[in-house]
């Protein structure tokens, strides 16, 4: 059976094309157009890459913030369900899935067999999300990879707000003026995000293994900070951006 999972996020649309549990092709597309048009474009691109056609797809499952705007999906599933479905088969055991994207973050406690036991989320506030990291990158005029690398080399931490991305942005600027090193400033940004993620994680319940996905999981410094503070093993997949779309493609029954 050929299925497509479409994850319409705040920043990008992710598509995974799945057949007999094998990924045929995937897309991660940053889009400026409306969710429906963007999702269709991303799906078309994926189909082209897999050398197959739209009418061969038996199930299209949409998820993410914009899942309801995808007019051609057969099913809509929450990010929590899809993140759990995307992550569980990788570890094959009870775990907490932490999914942090541009528009929010969520922690899902997954029991044996992949059942969702509990979850907590933050989609009201940009603190602890990829949007905050984007703002920080714009202020410092560097990209996320650079920010992450510099943060990894820091000796100290130039702290910023963990409750508001707007206040944190002003604090980053004033940290620059106050002469903190760029490394310490970047470390402060990662620390702020990690602190907020820990709060969401602890609300959902933390298992011994944590599966970390979403765009924010691309930051090694945030991953290491979480690992250190939790004393848990954090697993980051090869394509952390695709976990939720993959999980959606698996929601076929």
């Amino acid at each position: 059976m050929l299925s497509a999972g479409i994850d319409v996020g705040q920043h990008a649309i992710k598509v995974v094309l799945l057949e007999q549990n094998i990924v045929l092709a995937y897309q991660n597309m940053v889009t400026e157009v409306d969710a429906d048009t963007g999702a269709r474009q991303a799906l078309e691109n994926t189909l082209k890459e897999a050398n197959t056609s739209f009418d061969r797809i038996q199930r299209i499952v949409s998820t993410g913030l914009g899942r309801k705007e995808v007019s051609f999906s057969h099913l809509q599933r929450t990010q929590e369900t899809c993140a759990a479905r995307g992550a569980y088969p990788v570890l094959g055991k009870a775990c907490t899935v932490l999914d942090a994207g541009a528009g929010g973050c969520r922690a899902v406690k997954v029991g044996h067999g992949g059942k969702v036991l509990d979850f907590a989320s933050n989609s009201k506030c940009a603190s602890g999300t990829g949007s905050f990291l984007q703002i920080a990158c714009e202020v410092l005029q560097i990209d996320l990879a650079k920010l992450d690398m510099l943060a990894g080399q820091a000796d100290g931490i130039a702290k910023v707000s963990t409750t508001c991305a707007v206040f944190a942005e002003s604090a980053i600027i004033s940290n620059v003026h106050r002469g903190f090193s760029i490394e310490d400033i970047c470390a402060g940004i990662c620390d702020s995000v990690a602190t907020r993620l820990l709060e969401v994680l602890s609300r959902a319940g933390i298992e011994k293994d944590v599966f970390f996905c979403g765009g924010v999981a691309q930051s090694k410094t945030i991953t290491r900070t979480l690992e250190r503070r939790l004393g848990a093993t954090i697993h980051v997949p090869t394509h952390p951006l695709l976990t939720t779309a993959l999980g959606a493609a698996r929601c076929i029954s």
Partner: protein, 255 residues
């Protein structure tokens, strides 16, 4: 007796000088990166404006988030107490205050004696603060001083579902892209702020008379919408940004 009230807020620093019970000088500057220096500069400017010398001051009370680091002898008192005092001196009948500043927002209840009896404050997040309006004005490319009036010219409105300024910014831009008029979008922005601050007022309980202070008191787009929700006419001091400093100067007479 000459006293000074120094209110060092997150965005601006204000000073009021009292000669006995009469305000004789004031000043307002932007808060710089160095709060200690800001304290000194704003106080010197007020003294200069009044033709007074620092030595002639009998007492200084500092308030606001930078109140502890003033580089001169002073007593620090919370913004809540200073606002209650300042408002009480202007409007003795005031029982509820909404102070809307650059980076925080407080709802305060006070008694007939001008003492605060209850308060609630949001200083954790930019929602419902001056910063929220500033960010949205910026992304809509409208001068901050104009947004309130233009929001009142709207024919319709929009619903902003995001609490967070960062997400609201993306939301308003997508409304603009879809062709919604600037005025209607601004109406939605101001309603979002009014909803947010009215939530604070409800938690402390609203009793007449109701006063709005802080920089946003000058924004009629917010004031009118809060009035509508409260179903009351709001009182606004002639210089709403100076209320905390005025209260501080009054409290300096008692220390």
């Amino acid at each position: 007796m000459l006293t000074a009230g120094v209110d060092v807020g997150s965005r601006t620093a204000k000073v009021v000088i009292l000669n006995e019970e009469t305000p004789v000088a004031s000043s307002l500057i932007s808060t710089g990166p160095d709060s200690a220096e800001t304290c000194l500069t704003v106080l010197r400017e007020a003294m200069k404006a009044g033709g007074l010398t620092m030595e002639s001051l009998s007492a200084i009370v500092t308030t606001g988030y930078g109140r502890y680091i003033a580089p001169f002898p002073h007593t620090s008192i919370t913004e809540i107490a200073c606002h209650a005092k300042g408002v009480h001196k202007i409007f003795p009948t005031a029982r509820t205050i909404l102070d809307m500043g650059g980076q925080d927002c407080k709802a305060i209840r006070l008694n007939a004696g001008g003492h605060h009896t209850n308060f609630i404050m949001n200083d954790k997040c930019a929602a419902g603060t001056g910063r929220f309006l500033e960010i949205l004005a910026q992304s809509l490319n409208v001068p901050l001083q104009e947004i309130g009036d233009r929001s009142l010219e709207a024919k319709g409105t929009i619903k902003i579902s995001s609490t967070c300024a960062v997400f609201a910014r993306q939301e308003v831009l997508s409304y603009r892209r879809r062709g919604v008029s600037l005025e209607d979008v601004l109406a939605g922005v101001h309603e979002a702020v009014a909803d947010r601050v009215f939530g604070l007022i409800k938690s402390v309980g609203l009793e007449r008379d109701f006063v709005i202070t802080g920089g946003i008191a000058k924004n009629l787009g917010v004031v009118r919408r809060v009035e509508k929700q409260a179903n009351l006419t709001v009182l606004i001091p002639p210089e709403p940004q100076f209320t905390g400093a005025l209260g501080a100067a009054w409290l300096a007479r008692e220390v």
